[in-house]
Symmetry: none
Subunit: 436 residues, 2 copies
Amino acid sequence: MTLGTIDGIVIREPDEPVRAAVLSVGSELLLGDLTDTNATWVSLRLRELGVEVVHHLAVRDVLAEFLDALAWLAERVHLIVVGGGLGPTVDDLTREAIAEAAGVPLEHHDDLAEMIAERFRAGRFEMARQNLKQALIPKGATPYPPVGTAPGFGLTLPEPTATRVVALPGVPWELKELFGRFVADEVRQLAGARATVTRIVHVVGRGESNVASVIEPLLEGRDDVVLSFLARSSEIQVRLTVSAEDPHAARAASQPLVEEVVAALGSAVVGVDDDVLEDVVLRLLQERGQTVATAESATGGDVAARLARVAGASASLVGGMVVYTAAAKDGLAGLDAALVAAEGEVSEAVTRDLARAARERTGADWGIGVTGVAGPSMVDDLPIGSCFWALAHPNGEVEVHGRRIPGDRGQVIARLGSAALDLLRRRLLVDGVDDD
Amino acid sequence: MTLGTIDGIVIREPDEPVRAAVLSVGSELLLGDLTDTNATWVSLRLRELGVEVVHHLAVRDVLAEFLDALAWLAERVHLIVVGGGLGPTVDDLTREAIAEAAGVPLEHHDDLAEMIAERFRAGRFEMARQNLKQALIPKGATPYPPVGTAPGFGLTLPEPTATRVVALPGVPWELKELFGRFVADEVRQLAGARATVTRIVHVVGRGESNVASVIEPLLEGRDDVVLSFLARSSEIQVRLTVSAEDPHAARAASQPLVEEVVAALGSAVVGVDDDVLEDVVLRLLQERGQTVATAESATGGDVAARLARVAGASASLVGGMVVYTAAAKDGLAGLDAALVAAEGEVSEAVTRDLARAARERTGADWGIGVTGVAGPSMVDDLPIGSCFWALAHPNGEVEVHGRRIPGDRGQVIARLGSAALDLLRRRLLVDGVDDD
């Protein structure tokens, strides 16, 4: 897709956004042996450079399919970033395919051959004859000298498309390095000044459609904002991508929007950008110099493990108890066996006592207790998903909450854990937001 | 791309392989916010069902671009698996796009609306009006009832392409579940008489390239077998897909291969097919009528939580302790504080005492203790990845193992837990395989 050319220099209409595609080459992607993380990385970088990525396309190491895909994309975008197919083996077809699409021959570059040989010497590897194939690039292409053993190159296809094609090795670190050294500047020139920033608002305890129905009206008519929602087991992410003339302006424009979203969702917001629930809880604890411990039945240790996966957790996580059986609730947490039998293992009373025991037995400031029916079987005739979570406060008071949590066993465990951690988060916010 | 139809029944040339594409829908993919793991998973499953996946294509939530991509793929493949765009929000376009491509209207399904409403009632969530949009599917399509809140559907496009299009929600667990319940059988029929079976051998404690170097030579010249390796934090999967005339023959042909692979990898094999490490440990415990408890430092409860995620864990998992701080090691597990101070929190002696405490304090038959330096900081000058795991036997004896485990914080936690669970597995195998 042409940007227009004058004397071979590619230009574009000033207000037309540059559109790009990532073309990933390699049969292993289509066999399901490998996930295409290059496409994700390149897309994020291009977006930060003000380019709209409209397609990811993956093709096998089959020349006809490669050419077919290249032709389709060339009619639709201004820039194609090709990843992979630059190795030395017979199934590495990127050089041939792009040369054929451009109608030019391959040309041997002595200087690239010397660089490749040098890299083998430096690594004390034997260079196979076939590695010299990597010194071939399409006539007229700009060579990108190798950081591994594969050089890349950039070439503008002939009219009518005049699409710029950039070919990079598929090995992720080589792709990233060559992109940074050679492609980023090319793209900046193509794209002009516009930059974007993505802000993330993390939400717990509400469904995606509920969140969408609150947020979508806020952003109506905002052409400079791309809104997306990402649903995970333990949270919903509201993602706002704001574009502006430069990165500073984009960030500045994003801030009031983030504040508007946070205000609209109230206490369901657990954090912004890198702040996920576990991080926020640990940071709030650390700010207060307080600690937490858990006594978990249904989650089986997952609440403590989620905190423990955060670097630096040991400053605020004392530990806890996994009290999976009635015997453990008695033996480890010291619960009254008669009470457990009378109230049921999944009950308000037992959950309350677990939170209290977590706090008292460890000397932690806060204690979390959780019980629930994660499924697939019912417990004491309680339906699957019936859950309780309790929080023992530093003053010894204990509050208990309960509801039925939807999902399969894994989701019930994740959501129950999030509910318990979120309760602690809300109580740690001294100037507490609304309490629902 | 037509397979040919007779009276609306799709057929194909007997020797022509079925070609498929995965079309992933969602602006977040093109923004670089999310990596498309669905395409990988669907490709692996399709390959195991005898289908050649030739393209992955990702599109934004833009109707014209979606239709353009759908048309291009429909001319090239027999089957398109669409992932995403089935949610309730305005940017969910998959229903509209496929209906428009097929030239049919959208139709409201009362039974789907009722199922969606029921799923909200079960979760005690408020259903937004817009969720009813999810009960619309193209006229003539086969509905796939929801497992989350989004139904999927299958529809054959009109001639000349007659391409089968299958639409599934983008949430990975929903996509996998609906694929298994509805799509796999459809694909088996499309792909013809040859049946395939995929056998999985789960391996712990070895690297992927080591496993590959042992297994690849075993399968040379076997055209009826597709071999792939899948590396997870906690295990390597060796996947053998065997094709034959019918499922019975495929399974029969797979069995000696599985046995050969298991023999070649020896005690590194933890299970076959659905038997992952946690399942095997729990089953072996149940067969013996024995129980286990844990005392975890570095893993923070993750070992117990991994067992608890398996349905029926309560028969064999008593519970345990999370002893993250020195105070918890003393207070909860009763370790000698002087010993902890002298030996270090991450040490053979402390790990030994944790395993013993796990067993003795809970009355479980077996006790697991784990300590380690998960990073990013060192502990007591021990390098990151230094780990110990110990097992207290029913007779009271305790064995301790240690080594440096590679990876980032999350990987160290996962691999340390696997090492501890694998040790228990080996000891539960009475006629134990070799003990390395």
